[in-house]
Subunit: 403 residues, 2 copies
């Protein structure tokens, strides 16, 4: 093993993963690392439990959003002071969209990607409904149309770095440059790319970005979101100007004065426990680097696609994920007519994947803890299930609340 791979093996050993299961759903919810569990216990029992209100100063809870934001910034290629960890992705996108409209006035048009994660488009439509047609219009276009779209009257373009259904990686530098050349601002959703591949936001002059910490960043179920706003855009207004974004929070002034930095995009108080879990999870990345993780992720996704293509039982399944490395995120998505029952039979056999309507099985690859043997088990199990037809049993067709 190289040093880089030894470091990954050490990291992997710290994750709480049952040897009886193969977890391939880190693109939906990352796994728990020992570091995170210990940190939560310390923050709850020692910090809150013993120091109570003094924790805001003594344990620097008050600076969590920017301190954790800076850690995320290192992973996504932003400078210190350009990322905040707070709220959730949807709310952060709302802030970015209205900020972009303000910065790019009098333009009023927002272009979104038709295949965007749905909440992104709901939020953009929500902005349009709130502000009215004279101040905001939203149009969702297929991502393929972006290469010929006229951006000359577009205020903001909002799209996903990696598509949640297919796992396709978009050309962030190219799309950003093309839209910006016509004066549009570009907002990327990094939910499926942060922590598994290089986003290099500053190098590619990205205007704004949002993401979450509960997928490949392993912050825990529903852990906080983040937003990136390039320094040059930080004069914009926060449409949700709560006391945490005030220039002097504890002066309790009657009028709002925005902080002269990224902190103006804060609103209310964040959960210190949730933030601490996210911070601990981010600290794991200090033992490795994005280039190593990307290499390992690409190796695993390619190995999975190759094994599927070579296996007599699985070789005819349609793979939605592109084969070229530069077009691939960190998941492999298969289209199967019987996708739902097959996904449930896989889970029943200990291969944890997920299903997306109407017919997609997603195999998420988390390079911090997935390894080659996971792929072998997944492919063998899938082949078994398909060959035996066991997925046709009625119990695999029952839909739960979350699939």
């Amino acid at each position: 093993m190289t040093d880089a791979h030894e470091a990954l093996a050490t990291i992997r050993a710290g994750f709480c993963l049952s040897p009886e299961r193969v977890y391939l759903d880190g693109n939906s919810l990352g796994a728990l690392h020992d570091t995170v569990r210990r940190r939560v216990d310390t923050v709850v029992g020692d910090q809150w439990g013993k120091d109570l209100i003094a924790g805001w100063n003594d344990h620097d809870w008050i600076n969590q959003p920017s301190a954790i934001g800076n850690r995320i910034g290192q992973l996504v290629g932003a400078d210190p002071g350009e990322v905040l960890c707070c709220d959730n992705l949807s709310i952060n996108l709302f802030k970015c969209l209205t900020a972009a409209l303000e910065l790019n006035a009098p333009r009023t048009r927002i272009i979104t990607e038709a295949g965007h994660f749905p909440t992104d488009n709901y939020m953009a439509d929500g902005v349009a409904q709130l502000l009215g047609p004279k101040r905001c219009e939203v149009e969702a276009v297929p991502v393929e149309a972006l290469s010929t779209l006229d951006f000359s009257d577009v205020a903001a373009l909002s799209l996903s770095h990696v598509n949640f259904r297919s796992g396709t990686l978009r050309d962030l530098p190219g799309i950003t440059a093309r839209a910006q050349a016509a004066g549009a601002l570009v907002i990327w959703d990094l939910a499926h790319s942060a922590g598994v591949l290089e986003t290099a936001l500053n190098r590619h002059n990205v205007d704004m970005a949002v993401g979450c910490t509960y997928k490949f960043l392993n912050g825990g179920p529903g852990s906080p979101g983040f937003l990136y706003i390039a320094k040059r855009h930080q004069s914009a207004s926060n449409p949700l100007p709560g006391w945490m974004g005030h220039a002097d929070r504890f002066a309790f002034e009657p009028s709002y004065r925005p902080a002269p930095c990224i902190s103006r995009f804060l609103t209310g108080t964040q959960s210190v426990i949730a933030m601490a879990a996210a911070e601990a999870a981010l600290s794991i990345f200090e033992s490795t680097d994005i280039a190593t993780l990307r290499q390992h992720s690409l190796m695993l996704t390619q190995y999975l696609m190759d094994q599927l293509a070579n296996h007599p039982v699985t070789r005819d399944i349609q793979c939605l994920t592109p084969y070229p490395a530069h077009e691939r995120g960190s998941q492999v998505s298969l289209r199967l007519e019987e996708g739902f029952p097959v996904s449930q039979a896989l889970i029943d056999r200990g291969v944890i994947v997920d299903f997306r309507e109407p017919d997609i099985i997603r195999f998420g690859i988390a390079p911090l803890y997935n390894q080659r043997s996971d792929i072998d088990v997944a492919v063998d199990t899938l082949a078994d299930i398909l060959k035996s037809g066991i997925y046709r049993e009625e119990r695999f067709s029952k839909r739960g609340t979350v699939t």
Copy 2:
């Protein structure tokens, strides 16, 4: 001891409170209860750690906002399906304010209380700035002016149930009825009343309310906020329409369809760990009831005021908190010119209070864990500090980030 007082003693014993300190800051950050600590450990280690993505169904994480909302509903006098636990107070107020403007169109005027907690007024001003003067105007008036104000063109009135500085309890039934008689909708901030006194939202026909769970509800630092929207108003739009408010979240439909219930006021994913802590903290209230807590709280605040008034060293200090029980929340606020150094000297001596600019010391009374002996220690210590003049030492004048 009565049964009710025995129950309180049992609850108190479960709180992690050092015998060397008197904690009188539960109106800022509630204390940790063993139940909460154990619950967080279970949710992190057993639920997330072992069950991973399956937790959303198997542990019903997906329904936390409404399930926990219903628990809060019981404490504030709302029916099931009228309260959600989510986001933070500021963001929830934004949702209520825009919903009220929509419900009460074509009225555009929002009245807020001049002495409101600052974030409430910042958020209202933020709505006005976002929507523009034709759709929203905000005016902050002294709360005393509300009894003669003409509400006939007012869309919404936003104010605090208990004032954060003085601890004054407002006449919720009277103010609500007066504003509603002229067609205004009323939004109460329950941050300083939920969990310590009866709010009876439905009985008093309150339209909307917001609050937090980190003060008297003991959910932990920065734990989630809540919002109450009376059933009759739940047809309003959520201005932040994220996927968690969709009628069919996991269908991933391209267009937003609001849930046909309070859940439409959800936006993104909530921290499951933070929510679980809040839920465990709320479960503590099952062993008692609001009437008992209110009685105990009033006894303690009155005892504190009486002791201060009777002590030769403290009797001339101005008390901002009203003496009549029906005008008092669950804190006692003193005005002292040397308030800041005196508060720091109290903290140094183990009496944890807080300070609010420019000259207010707040003694928060959490009836779940404060008792008569806390008051004795607090008054004796305050008298000692004033008499000895120790608060004049330079070290007590240094201001931290959070006071």
